[in-house]
Amino acid sequence: MLVEHMRIMFERGASEFFEDGMDSDFAQDLIHSVIEHGSAAIDALAEYLFSSKVNSDVGSEALRRIADVGDQRSLASRWALLQRSLTHRSSRVRDGAILGFAALDDCRAIELLKVTKTEEPIPELRQLIQKVIEQLDVKHGEAAAQG
């Protein structure tokens, strides 16, 4: 049932044009689904992302947006999906995963991102990963200074 709901949501998402800073019906539906169903919604998203039917723009937007959900119960599964998606075959999906980690703003991702950067073939994405690492380094430094 949930997988079917998510499939319909992703198909509808494919007709939208996503833009940084602009609200989308897809993002709102996705966030509601994650809040309501937690890790089960993330599992359904993972099934879609790693299927042959994935639309890379929808997948990228989904990864970027699940980081905005302030639901601690699903954090581990969201983190795991973002991590897995860092090596997705689509550069756009990887872009969404990197931006997802930027939005999570969690210093524990620093080492993971450093390794990912060495394996990333797209120069623009290596540059983006470096920016996220620097953002997290600053936060880590501030946290250390506060004791």
Binding site: F17, E19, D20, G21, S60, R92, P123, E124, L128, V132
Partner: protein, 161 residues
């Protein structure tokens, strides 16, 4: 030579490696063209000059246009590419909340489909793309409000971000 900046919907439309096979055939992927959407055959860009207004300041002003503050993706290219694409331009006052940025606004004018494809090809071949992360944009907006470079009214958008 001046650099020109165009805000894009998503930087990932502009990854060179994803475009190279079409560029070699003299073509371009279609998705970058969605970032070059014209109105009355005009396209809005901003002149970026370290001595006058820098990329961060332009990106900060453009970040305040959409629904909410977010990452800002952009392409940046040398103004000499306009000559290569036979594109004319006019300096016009921009529509952002930052008057200094507005002074750096340029309309590319009398554009045609062929000229846009040529421009996209040149940007993908010789220009660069980048993203400023949302957290940095929020810092820039905060700094802009505190220094009075941005009006106090944009604080509302900052609080929602």
């Amino acid at each position: 030579m001046a650099k020109l900046l165009r805000k894009v919907k998503k930087q990932n439309h502009w990854f060179k490696a994803d475009a190279v096979s079409l560029l070699e055939k003299g073509d371009v992927p279609a998705d970058p063209l969605s970032d070059l959407n014209t109105s009355q055959n005009k396209l809005s860009v901003f002149q970026v000059d370290e001595g006058h207004v820098n990329i961060d300041r332009v990106a900060r002003a453009l970040a305040l246009g959409p629904d909410h503050i977010d990452n800002v993706g952009y392409v940046i290219f040398d103004s000499s590419l306009l000559t290569q694409a036979s594109i004319e331009f006019n300096h016009t006052y921009g529509g952002t909340v930052d008057p200094v940025v507005n002074e750096c606004h340029i309309d590319l004018i009398n554009l045609s489909g062929n000229k846009l494809v040529k421009l996209a090809h040149l940007i993908l071949s010789e220009g660069e793309s980048d993203t400023i992360l949302k957290k940095r944009i929020k810092e820039l907006v905060e700094e802009g409000i505190n220094s009075k470079e941005l009006p106090e009214k944009v604080r509302e958008k900052l609080l929602k971000a």
